[in-house]
Subunit: 345 residues, 2 copies
DNA sequence: GTTAGCACTCCGGCAATGAGAGTGCTAAAG
DNA sequence: CTTTAGCACTCTCATTGCCGGAGTGCTAAC
């Protein structure tokens, strides 16, 4: 089907999509005829449009409005017709600078980049950080946090910090904690969180005798704390930008749906997890995303890596009518920027 | 002026405000007459309304609409006429449960409570946590975070965790870090962040000889890292709830302004900082808040404490037309809940 | 296969209209 | 002196009807 379209037909489709992206209005045959240098008359364009509509790429809001691209139309455009716009030098610089400012812990870096991406694209920007269980540890520490609580802090290579509370254990002294921390660090050397946990339990079985009861119990508790799946994190920036898009600004219902979605980590995760595993940029249009509540939005996202493993993804969320030619390079660049930033950490 | 209003007049004002809160529509003399059991005719009410308008408590959108309370009208209502609604047993329970679930680090606790508060009130909820410099430390730890970075983790009594990156210092070994951590913990005992910093510098001057150059430098860097003002934190929950309010749902401009404001920590801080110092609940109506960009919103907020010192505040942000009789007790209860939760930590 | 021409459809804007809600004023009643 | 009934007046809002414009589909000619 799709392959059975001749060059002229696809050119018409491309112009329709691009015009619609630019104006958010249904586009008519006259407009396209002009745009193509009048080499074809409006009547001819109309015939072609009728074909495209039959093929499912276009739709009419009502008789005698122009056509607007359907989801399938956008899909075809993105897959076959898109001419990427090169990033402006200035935009690259800005992104670099944003990344540079994020010299605090990793979350600051990510937040800055996300924020700028959002503003450059005039869309809401989202970053998800996968649960760091698969990441390699840099160091571990047990800290006192009140009489009845101990805090287990883990720092990953790349700069992500996590902490989990352990309840109880009031009788461990500061000295005890230091000792256990030192020991945990030894075990952690070069390992992931998961591996560390296994290792702790392992060691504990082997050399039970070496530890007094209190310390032994503390080790078990550490292992248990490490088991609790840390959910991963979500950063959303530029929510206000979605009001720049008429499709959301006008329709309070859609707006509410999307704002609610932004408040549910799990939804955002489902929205971006495909991009995480894949290496290439992912564009899901309208119904394609797996979140039933949001049938009318698009997600452009790309994973970023830490060394060889994918650790998260960054992307934009907006209406189906997005300026993909501009937005796709932006997201790609942002993702690669994160990848390089995390490389030398 | 205000004191010069007789009982009947204020009763009319109260009814107008309450009706307007309930309906979001201008209210007319007929409605009020009915509401007051027809003891007064609409004509009389009209006279009273005219007086109230002259006094600045009411306004007319146009001739021959009903009256709407002005900012001053709301103010008077809140200060003198408000009949607080008792919290429902169920709501208190829910809040308690939310607080109980937040058994992770302090930020989880705060987030859960804030979220529920937001949903109960149908408004956006905001929590600010003041920069914890004045809070007493529970423990300190230096951790390796990559070759060129060290992470300084501080845990406050009450469970707030902060981390700051220190760049450089590649030659400190894990052992070194442990030793310095132990020493810092000794110095930190029972002190605030600020005091700790002073103490470090102090000690360093006195006993310079006791430390080798590397460790000395590390201490200096720690002190410096502690100096960087940590900005405090802001949590916003239930943004989508503001769309429940017709005044925002209809006016995209206001909506955008408020969403933008939510993206600027500093704005939120300015909005809530008054509540932080004061012990009582604060209600600022319309123009009263100090943020010029948001002249048409109300903030209901209350500080919460950790022991004797104020450490932050929790509140609601919404249109001036809020159900104060319900919302004020909610916020108060949430704040007191946070205070008790932090007490036994 | 392409295009000009034409009849037709549908939306959006505009003015006119009328009902409804509410006011302010006046004059009478308490 | 206060309250109220009555009434004229104002303003909004929803409804209606009426173009004009944009765009289409079809047919017939090129």
């Amino acid at each position: 089907m799709a392959s059975g379209m001749d060059d002229r037909t696809t050119r018409v489709l491309r112009h329709i999509v691009e015009d619609y992206i630019a104006t958010a209005e249904p586009v008519g045959s006259r407009t396209i005829s002009k745009k193509m240098g009048q080499s074809l008359s409006p009547a001819t364009i109309r015939n072609i449009m009728a074909d495209l509509e039959e093929a499912g790429f276009l739709a009419q809001p009502h008789t005698s409005a122009g056509r607007i691209p359907t989801g399938a139309g956008f899909r075809y455009y993105i897959d076959h017709l898109l001419a990427r716009q090169a990033l402006a030098r200035g935009e690259m610089d800005q992104l670099h600078r944003a990344a540079g400012e994020g010299n605090g812990p990793a979350d600051e870096l990510v937040r800055q980049v996300s924020r700028l991406l959002s503003n450059l694209a005039h869309q809401a920007s989202v970053v998800v950080v996968s649960s760091p269980e698969q990441q390699v540890l840099s160091s571990v520490s047990l800290m006192r946090a009140g009489v009845e609580r101990i805090l287990l802090v883990t720092v990953m290579r790349g700069g992500w910090v996590q902490h989990r509370l352990i309840e109880g254990e009031p009788d461990l002294t500061g000295d005890d904690l230091e000792k256990i921390s030192a020991y945990l660090n030894e075990l952690a050397e070069g390992r992931t969180l998961l591996q560390l946990r296994a290792r702790i339990l392992d060691e504990l079985g082997k050399e039970k005798a070496r530890y007094d009861r209190v310390m032994g119990r503390a080790l078990v508790m550490s292992a248990r704390a490490l088991t609790e799946a840390a959910p991963g994190e979500v950063f959303i920036e530029g929510r206000a930008n979605i009001l720049e898009q008429p499709e959301f600004a006008e329709d309070v219902h859609r707006l509410k749906r999307i704002l609610r979605a932004f408040e549910e980590k799990s939804v955002i995760f489902r929205l971006l997890d495909r991009a995480m595993v894949s290496r290439a940029i992912q564009v899901s249009v309208g119904l394609e995303n797996t979140v039933e509540e949001l049938p009318d939005i698009s997600v452009v996202a790309s994973g970023y890596r830490q060394g060889a493993s994918s650790v998260g993804s960054i992307g934009l969320i907006g209406p189906v009518r997005m300026d993909y030619s501009r937005v796709i390079p932006l997201v790609e660049y942002a993702a690669s920027l994160l990848t390089t930033m995390f490389e030398d950490r």
